[in-house]
């Protein structure tokens, strides 16, 4: 069996003691061999420790020519952290021995109680301690190097919140050297003051065992330059053999940049959102404007429509007042004559009567009597026309039911729309109607009427634009399960192929500036397709007019028109980009 070899550095200035120790160690054990080298001063000891030779154990007399007492141990320790030291003390000087151990010595021996066995045993034990410590140190260094390799802060805090360990990354982020961090209170030194209380509470909760709740938290740390870095911490606790929580192990990721990036993204996102909201409200505004524009157009037409009957009725009314003055006048004359009758002779009566007749003739009473029935009849007709127009307007706009979906007879809607658009259409086109029986449709009547009006006015304007006199508009309404279909066909100039794809685009118009907003069909599309889940398409060829087809689902809620539209290839419908 191999002998274990232990190299001993004997630090002793007394020649007798050196000899004694050597003698005790040589051939003292079957299994151990001691190689002893001797130095006599502290300065030589330090040189030796820094030299090439490695020693397993040091046997140290603290009283040296250049150092004495516990100081000797301290100085040796400074020179070499790892070598196990067995101290030799004077007679019964237990106190010194214990002090030496406190300062880093592994063991102590009292010189005059020394025996070969005790010395060998003690040195062997010190050797083994040394080896074990070396292993521990190696493991520790390895662990530290793992910690240092980590891209995150690794931090171990003692239960008094002082820093026990911190890795390179932590030092780097904090901007301090390791020794400036170790043993310092974490909260007091490395957490910004305004977060101190909260962080220390978290750490104390961790130490008290409330781990789950605080497994993750974020807080800024304070760097040497005074800047904050935001760190996301994952925490766990380290326990001693008895299972008591002794320290906290935290890994912390510097998320300052990520947070900043997140903030930037958040900000950009919210800006986008608000831009989007702006666009939406602009779109609503545009639709509202279009509605106002078409109402304005309508109002002008309706105003003209009313101006005529109101004009002649009001004029008749004024005339009637004058007629009545004339009647009163004549009645007056006859009354006077009747009163004076007893006092006037026959010739007088004849003369007075002739006088009255002359007056009546001057007043054109013949015409008035002949005309007065017509005056009443025509005025009544005028008022009736105004009443009808107002009724139609009410039907058309359904002002009392904005944004309400209700069962609605779209034939009535078409009739009301035609009535209010009559003025625009009547000089341009003859309208023929083909209405089949259709069920009521769940829709917003006012919106659907707006669509009818847009298309009818477009048709009339298209016909007018060719300057070929009266054209024709054919309107058909018929059922086609699960839809009610309305076709509006004109024999105007038609829509060129290249425009066909664009007519539903907002702001697309071929009308001269001021004549159209370019929104009528875009809004119509929105109303029919988006709001009512229906379909709207055009068939048109240049020179052959245009046909608009509106399909409204009988049951708006169950319909998904888009799906069907995809399969509806031969129809030239246009989906505008929304």
């Amino acid at each position: 069996m191999d002998k274990r070899t232990i190299t001993v550095l004997l630090v002793e200035d007394d020649e007798g003691d050196i000899l004694l120790a050597r003698r005790m160690l040589v051939n003292s054990s079957q299994s151990l061999e001691f190689i002893v080298e001797t130095v006599q001063t502290l300065s030589d000891t330090v040189k030796y420790l820094n030299g090439d030779k490695k020693f397993d154990v040091m046997l140290l007399d603290m009283g040296l020519p250049d150092s004495s007492g516990v100081e000797t141990v301290q100085k040796v320790k400074q020179a070499n952290q790892t070598i196990p030291i067995v101290v030799l003390t004077g007679l019964d000087d237990e106190q010194t021995g214990l002090l030496a151990i406190k300062n880093g010595a592994t063991d102590y021996l009292v010189k005059n109680k020394l025996s070969s066995d005790i010395l060998v045993q003690t040195l062997n034990f010190a050797f083994e301690r040394g080896q074990a410590e070396k292993t521990i140190l190696r493991e520790r260094n390895k662990a530290q190097s793992y910690l240092d390799v980590a891209g995150v802060i690794m931090l171990v805090l003692n239960d008094d919140l002082t820093v026990h360990r911190i890795n390179n990354k932590g030092c780097e982020i904090l901007g301090y050297a390791e020794q400036d961090i170790l043993e310092k209170n974490w909260c007091d030194n490395f957490v910004p003051s305004e977060y101190r209380e909260k962080v220390s509470q978290v750490l104390k909760s961790l130490l008290s065992g409330e781990i789950g709740k605080y497994e993750y938290h974020e807080n800024p740390i304070l760097t040497k330059t005074g800047r904050y870095r935001l760190v996301a911490w994952h925490n766990s606790v380290l326990r001693d053999e008895a299972g008591q929580i002794k320290s906290i192990l935290s890994s912390g990721e510097d998320i300052t940049e990520r947070k900043e990036a997140e903030e930037v993204i958040k900000k950009a996102y919210s800006e986008l959102e608000s831009a989007n909201a702006n666009l939406k409200s602009m779109q609503a505004q545009i639709i509202q404007n279009e509605k106002l524009a078409s109402i304005g157009q309508l109002a002008a037409g309706v105003a003209h429509e009313m101006n005529t009957p109101v004009g002649f009725t009001a004029s008749n009314f004024e005339t009637l007042a004058k007629y009545f003055d004339k009647f009163k006048n004549l009645l007056d004359m006859y009354g006077k004559l009747a009163g004076e009758m007893p006092n006037i002779d026959k010739d007088g009566i004849i003369a007075r009567t002739a006088d009255i007749r002359k007056t009546a003739e001057d007043m054109k009473m013949g015409f008035i009597l002949e005309d007065i029935d017509a005056l009443f009849e025509e005025s009544k007709e005028g008022l009736k026309r105004v009443t009808t127009i107002i009724q139609n307007l009410r039907d058309f706009s359904r002002v009392d039911k904005i944004d309400v979906y209700d069962d609605f007879d779209i034939i009535r809607g078409m009739e009301a729309t035609l009535a209010v658009a009559r003025n625009t259409i009547k000089y341009n086109a003859n309208v023929t109607l083909e209405f089949a029986d259709v069920s009521q449709v769940s829709c917003n009547a006012s919106q659907i009427n707006q669509v009818f009006l847009n298309i009818l006015v477009n048709a009339a304007q298209a016909i007018e634009s060719q300057q070929k006199g009266m054209g024709n508009i054919k309107i058909k309404i018929y059922p086609s399960e699960p839809y009610v279909v309305c076709e509006i066909e004109d024999d105007g100039p038609g829509i060129p192929q290249e425009y066909l794809n664009r007519v539903f685009e907002p702001f697309f118009t071929t009308k001269p500036a001021g004549k159209g907003t370019g929104l009528g069909l875009a809004v119509s599309y929105d109303i029919v397709v988006n709001k009512h889940k229906g379909q709207l398409f055009i068939d048109s060829q240049v020179g052959r007019g245009a046909k608009f087809t509106i399909k409204l689902p009988l049951n708006r809620k169950n319909s998904d028109s888009r799906k069907e539209m995809e399969n509806n290839g031969q129809e030239s419908h246009i989906v505008c980009g929304r």
Partner: protein
């Protein structure tokens, strides 16, 4: 002075009727036509001094009538009686029809319409007096 002749043109007969009965006591002769075409026929046969026309009428619009009258009968004072109040319609009538007045429907007979006709007559007379002055051969009856 001769009785002046006023021609009213409107496709709505009830408007013409209301004018007829409203003007029975006025010191001028009134003629009525329910289309531009009929108005031109009347102008062929009878001397007319004032023309009052609607703007929007089927077949021949008021503007077309006004243009023809301006060309063929430049002495006739032209007035529009229309429900249209949009600037565009007004400007067209004034600039292309060279009208004397634009009266809007509904009109006020006593306060507005009758005075307008009377002014138009005065305007006619004023123009013709000037013509008479520059043409001494023509008879005048101031």
């Amino acid at each position: 002075m001769d009785r002046k002749v006023i021609l009213f043109v409107d496709d709505e007969v009830k408007v013409l009727n209301s004018l007829r009965r409203g003007l029975i006591d006025e010191p001028y002769e009134t003629l009525f036509a329910d289309s531009g075409k009929k108005a031109l026929e009347i102008l062929e046969q009878k001397e007319v001094h004032i023309l009052v026309t609607d703007m929007r009428m089927p077949e021949m619009s008021g503007l077309e009538l006004l243009k023809i009258v301006r060309e063929k009968y430049p002495k006739i004072v032209r007035i529009v009686l229309s429900g249209y109040t949009q600037i565009a319609t007004l400007l067209t009538a004034i600039n292309q029809g060279e009208i004397y007045k634009y009266i809007t429907k509904p009109w006020q007979m006593e306060e507005e319409f009758k005075p307008a006709i009377r002014q138009a007559i005065e305007f006619y007379d004023l123009n013709n007096k000037q013509d008479a002055a520059s043409q001494p051969a023509a008879a005048t009856n101031g």
